[in-house]
């Protein structure tokens, strides 16, 4: 969609909150930003990726070119960029792969090596494999049914890939169980890991306190942090996964 102000300001990891005009749904739908264009023929556009899962996304899927959308964004925190020149490993599960493309472009633009692991249920659910190969030094696909790439989960290949690529940092986006597994594995390998969580949101702007994630504080206590305002990007080592429900 064309949204020049959002395209200008958006950072990888942030999201847009999209109003959907169905008969009886009220709330906006949050989507991670997949890509923005600041120059060229697509300048001023913002792209997000979604699957039809309910009435809101069904309504969105029925929009036509030039239809107007009501969006709020860019919202939330961005993936921090490494201060040292380390190879970066980007791990995406399902539609969580989408923001990894935006992040990959940003990291590449800073001259950093980018490797990717993209997991999906089956080969037809892998998002934009060609683009993933184009923008990374290496990409490894995993599918639950083995119909493409390695059969299994992203965590089954993560250690090998990280070792082979000399990864110095891990970024992940996808379902919470995957983020937990990636975060814990990265931690055991001594790699810093940033995750963009997918928690159910109400308002997207920090006022409803729906989308909280338990974050461990320096004193060991847990604080429920809003994934729309303090997140969606969190340091995986600080997320109290065992307290997530």
């Amino acid at each position: 969609m064309a949204a020049p102000d959002v395209a200008e300001r958006a950072l990888p990891g942030q999201f847009v909150d999209v109003a959907v005009d169905t008969t009886n749904t009220l709330l906006r739908r949050p989507f991670s930003i997949y890509r923005t264009s600041r120059q060229g023929p697509w300048a001023g556009t913002v792209e997000f990726v979604f699957d039809v899962k309910g009435p809101g996304t069904r309504w969105l899927s029925e929009r036509d070119t030039h239809d107007a959308l009501d969006i709020v964004g860019p919202l939330g925190s961005a993936f921090p960029i490494p201060q040292q020149r380390v190879p970066c490993l980007l791990v995406g599960g399902g539609y969580g792969t989408a923001p990894m493309f935006f992040l990959a472009e940003e990291l590449r633009g800073r001259g950093l090596r980018v490797d990717m692991i993209a997991g999906a249920r089956s080969s037809d659910r892998i998002f934009n494999a060609i683009e993933a190969k184009r923008i990374t030094a290496s990409v490894t696909f995993t599918t639950d049914d083995g119909s493409a790439g390695e059969q299994g989960q992203v965590t089954d290949v993560l250690e090998d890939v990280a070792r082979r690529c000399g990864s110095g940092v891990v970024y992940a986006c996808g379902p919470m169980p995957m983020l937990r597994a990636v975060g814990e594995l990265a931690g055991s390998l001594g790699l810093p890991c940033q995750v963009a969580v997918e928690e159910l949101m109400g308002c997207g702007v920090g006022v409803c306190w729906t989308c909280v994630v338990p974050i461990r504080q320096k004193d060991g206590s847990l604080k429920m942090k809003r994934s729309c305002l303090d997140g969606p990007v969190f340091n995986a080592a600080k997320v109290a996964w065992e307290a997530c429900t």
């Binding site: 009220l26 109400g202 702007v205 909280v212």
Partner: protein, 306 residues
């Protein structure tokens, strides 16, 4: 705009009658990214308790037809931190602040009110005696007249600003409860809090909320709220009412004014549209101007009954 929106709400002199409902605006700074929140009549802050609370586990929210259920569990930093950090930010900006307090005993309400005495920027107190999300449903003050009156009495005795009782419509006779809190010294009532509800995921057979039940809000409850305002206004026309429940635009707000509300508050509407409360404020002025009305008071409680 020629209409004068300045409103006296039970002794609170507000620049306009548009407020934001407790728990729907955090502490103000979040929405200040979208517009100057001091343009609002007042900000009813998220309820604070004596001690900090981390709230309930997730999922805390479920979207339902024309509304949403929530069970947040009064997550808040506690009154001391709120007084030290959140309130000064609003007060420095010049916002009119209505503090919202929630307790589990009459003594807690008393202590909370005592801590609010003389707090800079606080123009009123809303006593949350009807939050349906605290774990023990059995102790909801707002469901019975005597405990409701006792909590309000405790707050009024400690307070130097007008006190409003926030009531639930989940009662047999809301007029009875409203009468009790007014007798206890409340300057007015806030009507209504969320309505207790439940939703079930039929794929898993589990409740959609971790807390099983939660508060229903949004347009789905607007007719319930308008009815409650109407009943209380008919019984006690002199009592100021802050009406709320499913207000997203000026037209919605006007229903409450016709029913008898002195002021209105936007709650879940803020989640849908961050500019909702500002839109309501501007929309009310435009609506009055278009009809040549000088202010909302001309309209208050003028619903034409058969």
């Amino acid at each position: 705009m020629t209409a004068d929106l300045a409103t006296d709400v039970g002794g609170m002199q507000l620049a306009n009658p548009v407020l934001v409902a407790s728990g729907c605006f955090a502490s103000g700074a979040e929405i200040d990214r979208f517009y100057d929140v001091t343009e609002l009549g007042a900000i009813i802050c998220k309820s604070v308790t004596l001690e900090p609370r981390e709230g309930l586990p997730t999922p805390r929210m479920a979207e339902t037809p024309s509304g949403m259920l929530n069970a947040i569990g009064l997550q808040n930093p506690g009154i001391d931190r709120w007084l030290a950090k959140d309130l000064p930010w609003l007060a420095d900006r010049g916002a009119a602040v209505v503090a919202s307090i929630a307790g589990t005993s009459v003594d807690e309400y008393r202590q909370l009110a005592r801590k609010l005495r003389g707090a800079n920027g606080v123009v009123g107190i809303e006593v949350n005696i009807s939050c349906p999300n605290v774990e023990d449903r059995g102790t909801v003050f707002a469901c019975r007249a005597d405990p409701a009156g006792a909590a309000i009495d405790a707050v009024v005795r400690e307070s130097s600003v007008p006190v409003f009782a926030k009531l639930t419509a989940d009662v047999t006779d809301i007029v009875e409860i409203a009468t009790a809190v007014i007798r206890a010294g409340a300057a007015g009532v806030s009507l209504i809090n969320t309505v207790l509800g439940m939703a079930i995921d039929i794929d898993t057979g589990r409740p959609k909320l971790a807390n099983v039940v939660g508060g229903l809000s949004g347009p789905a409850i607007r007719p319930i709220a308008v009815r409650a305002v109407h009943q209380v206004h008919q019984a006690m026309p002199q009592v100021p009412i802050i009406g709320m429940g499913g207000i997203g635009g000026a037209e919605d707000a006007l229903e409450f004014v016709y029913a008898g509300a002195t002021a209105i508050a936007v709650g879940t509407g803020n989640f849908v549209n961050p500019f909702a409360a500002l839109d309501v404020c501007r929309g009310l002025g435009a609506w009055l101007d278009a009809r040549g009305l000088a202010g909302l008071s001309e309209l208050r409680g003028t619903v034409k009954l058969p």
